[in-house]
């Protein structure tokens, strides 16, 4: 057995050695549909900067949302370098899909924000190259209806909206947004040392948070519904809503000069104001463990997440960089959406969820929308029981 193993290892070493001398290197890269042009531009820049090898790139259209699903369907046919959102990290790590970042590890950690490095780390190992730090959510609002003072508290938003005959959109039926009440009130959802899911959304604090959600649902100025509702109504019947940077362009287009963004508001618990928490989100470049050219793939990933590439990505696509230097640039600091996100990032936690959290979260949100006066505690207990897998 050991002998076989040694032979195998030798074969692989030889292969990689040959690969290092080889001229023709084919790398497959995945990114979303509307990021393709930029991806091509950056990859070609990389090839131009490395004339010692003859690079051929294959571009696959796989958006971040589908990355892990597409990867797991057939890892051998998946891209060498692909973008995934941090919430898919654990699933990919469990499938041993990602190369550890071991080359230039310290430089990469130092160059990127702490939150993005944490998001790309699982069980103490950095499993990817942080690319953006903008995959979280925050508040968009209409300046002509709400003042900066109004958007500090949920009550302020709802009161001003009601007065103006407008509504506030929040996707209560989506666990990702819904969690912000619970996280804000001090509840946690995380993994213990054995990698098992722990969640205490059904404790006293959780109940208080859930009551705040119920109060929101019962408010006449509240409008449930997903991002399509928000992008379709803001500036019209809706004056504020919670979503992420991917709708920023659409909302900017609709609101024009009245476009504004802020961190999430505070909400009322027992008469006191509590800041809403959130999941901080990052997009990460991963290197496929099935790659035939791991070193080249890593170099490419490093190039694609460098300060220059991240700045270029902001210029072309408006993505918020995870690179510390890039984030300091003036253009980024003055972008309303990205600065709102940066303000929210102080209250954001890394998403560590492997349990069955999402479907019951939707069920819980729907139950509150349907009837805000429902007995909450049993619902919370069921939700948590499913999440931690009992």
């Amino acid at each position: 057995m050991k002998k076989l193993f040694a032979v195998l290892l030798a074969v692989i070493l030889c292969c990689t050695a040959f690969a290092a001398f080889a001229d023709d290197i084919t790398l497959k890269v995945w990114d979303g549909q509307d990021d393709q042009e930029l991806l091509k531009e950056l990859c070609e820049a990389y090839a131009a900067a490395h004339p010692e090898n003859n690079y051929t790139f294959q571009y696959g259209v796989v958006g971040t949302a589908d990355a892990s699903a597409r990867y797991l369907e057939d890892p051998a046919a998946a891209a060498d370098v692909f973008v995934y959102p941090d919430d898919q990290l654990i699933r990919l790590a469990m499938a041993d899909a990602l190369y550890e970042v071991t080359r230039n590890h310290d430089e990469i950690v130092a160059a990127n924000s702490q939150g993005s490095v944490n998001a790309a780390t699982y069980k103490g190992t950095l499993l990817g190259y942080p690319m953006t730090a903008d995959n979280g959510y925050f508040l968009f609002y209409d300046k002509s209806v709400l003042t900066e003072e109004d958007v500090k508290t949920l009550d302020g938003i709802l009161a001003a909206a009601e007065k103006a005959g407008k509504q506030f959109n929040f996707d209560v039926a989506n666990g990702w947004y819904l969690a912000s009440f619970f996280l804000g009130n001090g509840c946690t959802i995380t993994l213990d040392e054995d990698g098992k899911q722990v969640c205490d959304f059904n404790n006293e604090k959780g109940l208080e948070a859930a009551k705040a959600v119920a109060a929101l649902c019962a408010h006449p100025a509240f409008l449930p519904g997903d991002q399509n509702i928000l992008t379709g109504t803001i500036g019209d019947t809706v004056c504020a809503g919670v979503c992420g940077t991917w709708v920023a362009d659409a909302i900017k287009e609709r609101l024009g000069d009245n476009y504004a963004a802020a961190k999430l508001p505070t909400f009322t618990v027992n008469g006191e104001q509590v800041q809403m928490g959130s999941f901080g989100g990052c997009k990460i470049l991963g290197v496929n463990t099935q790659s035939a050219y791991p070193i080249e793939a890593m170099n490419l990933a490093e190039f694609l997440t460098s300060e220059e590439s991240q700045l270029r990505r902001f210029e072309v696509r408006g993505y918020g960089p995870s690179n510390i230097n890039a984030a300091k640039s003036e253009a980024i600091a003055s972008d309303p959406a990205l600065s709102a996100l940066a303000a929210q990032s102080d209250y954001a936690v890394t998403q560590l969820i492997i349990g069955d959290f999402w479907t019951p979260a939707t069920a819980f949100g729907n139950a509150l929308i349907a009837d805000p006066t429902v007995d909450i505690q049993p619902l919370l207990d069921q939700w948590v029981a499913q999440t931690i897998g009992q």
Partner: protein
């Protein structure tokens, strides 16, 4: 079978040699081409078996022993991966190899049979059929073999083998935590079955709840379409209605739009701020939006109603076809008795329509049990329920199964459910099919 052995034992050394070298008997008796084809099949099989199949088949019992390994490479400064066994490919190609072997054994037996048959013919001094004669028999006496060979090959490759593979998956632990090639999965026996029915209360409740709704749905979806489609057809075919063809076309246009488009549109329109609620509120019929997609009862009614929108045009067309073709003799015999139009309809047209459409109705019923599109695209199974495991109140077994596969990667559980759907549906429909008149009287008109 006995005769086969007797003939074989009586055969000469060429016949017996065909055991080892296929086609030998044929070549000796002058069927050179046929013999060479047997020989070629044998060579190809062994090439396939030892060149490809064996390396998978030999691991079938464990589904792989060596997991993918990480080894630190000091030169490159990376954790290099040493590929391990891929459990899924082992299982899949083992199934393929076994299937090819079975086919090969059949071919081998046929080869022996034809060798002894030719020997008997030669001994009796009869003429040995030429290649041309064999070929022409394939176009006549054995025409079914010619016609069935192509469809059956694709059927075995693209339907039968994958189904066997999926059935076997139900007895493994292939899920998100055991994903090849990073991890191995292995046999777990009846674990998944006991899990659904005994081990996990939520899963049992989910399965039973969804099964119940699936049956209720199938009954409603089938019969609402049946009854209203029939009524619509009768209206359009009424003598007083002008422009029959135009009316039929109106109803057919909606079904020409791909369902993933029309249902997506409708599901957006059903949301609280969606077009339907907006319209109803503008009309002043309701004050607050109706929770079409979040209320259990309402969403169940909605899927049945929308399914009528999709299904009625089909049934309308079926019944139009039937109505236009009611045999005149039936009416003639009835009008002699002086029956009025309503009695004529109740005692002649209706029974005739029900009789003729019975097989189509069963097909529709089975189709509705597996009606993925309407549910998945309209409600995605929602409203999600805290009582259920990864499912909602309008989920059918088939949509639940899809979500488990695609979203949860829980292939083992999904396959187990798949087998149950399969059993329920096939037992029902086989019984019914084989009892309907159409099958029993298949030779009636010939």
């Amino acid at each position: 079978m006995k005769r086969f052995w007797k003939d074989f034992a009586q055969g000469d050394s060429w016949v017996k040699g065909s055991c080892l070298v296929m086609g030998l008997g044929c070549i000796k008796r002058g069927q050179i081409v046929k013999g060479l084809m047997y020989l070629a099949a044998e060579v190809l099989f062994f090439l396939f078996f030892f060149g490809f199949g064996w390396k998978y088949l030999s691991h079938l019992l464990t589904l792989g022993e060596n997991a993918q390994l990480k080894v630190w490479n000091e030169d490159l400064q990376i954790y290099q991966r040493v590929p391990g066994d891929n459990s899924m490919l082992i299982l899949l190609f083992s199934v393929l190899t076994v299937a090819v072997t079975v086919i090969f054994i059949c071919l081998w037996v046929i080869n022996l049979k034809s060798a002894s048959h030719l020997y008997q013919l030669e001994k009796a001094g009869k003429e040995i059929p030429s290649l041309r004669q064999d070929a022409s028999s394939l176009l006549n006496d054995r025409f079914h073999i010619t016609l069935l060979s192509a469809p059956m090959t694709t059927l075995i490759l693209f339907t039968v083998l994958p189904i066997i593979f999926m059935i076997l998956i139900a007895f493994t632990n292939f899920d998100a935590n055991h994903q090849p090639p990073g991890n191995l999965f292995t046999w777990t026996g009846m674990q998944n079955v006991t899990d659904i029915f005994l081990g996990n209360e939520t899963k049992t409740r989910t399965f039973m709840g969804i099964l119940g709704w699936t049956i209720v749905w199938a009954i409603f979806a089938t019969f609402t379409n049946y009854i209203f489609g029939m009524i619509l057809a009768i209206i359009i075919n009424n003598k007083l209605v002008r422009l029959k063809k135009m009316w039929r076309t109106w109803f057919m246009i909606p079904i020409a739009i791909p369902q993933f488009v029309s249902l997506l549109l409708i599901s957006r329109a059903l949301e609280p701020p969606g077009a339907i609620n907006v319209a109803l509120m503008k009309l002043g019929w309701i004050k607050t939006p109706l929770p079409f997609l979040t209320d259990v009862t309402l969403s169940r009614i909605v899927v049945i109603v929308i399914n009528m929108w999709i299904g009625i045009p089909y049934t309308m067309m079926t019944f139009s076809g039937v109505l236009m073709n009611v045999p005149e003799e039936l009416y003639e015999s009835a009008s002699i008795d002086g029956a009025g139009p309503i009695r004529r309809f109740m005692s002649i047209t209706l029974p005739y329509m029900i009789f003729v459409t019975a097989p189509a109705t069963i097909t529709t019923f089975v189709g509705n049990i597996n009606n993925f599109n309407v549910i998945y695209l309209l409600t995605a199974g929602g409203p999600a329920s805290l009582d259920y495991y990864q499912a909602g109140k309008t989920d059918l077994l088939v949509t639940w199964l899809y979500k488990l596969t695609v979203d949860q990667h829980d292939y083992a559980l999904a396959s187990t459910i798949g087998i149950f759907i399969f059993m329920i549906v096939s037992v029902c429909s086989l019984t019914v099919y084989n009892r309907t008149g159409a099958v029993k009287k298949e030779d009636m008109f010939q």
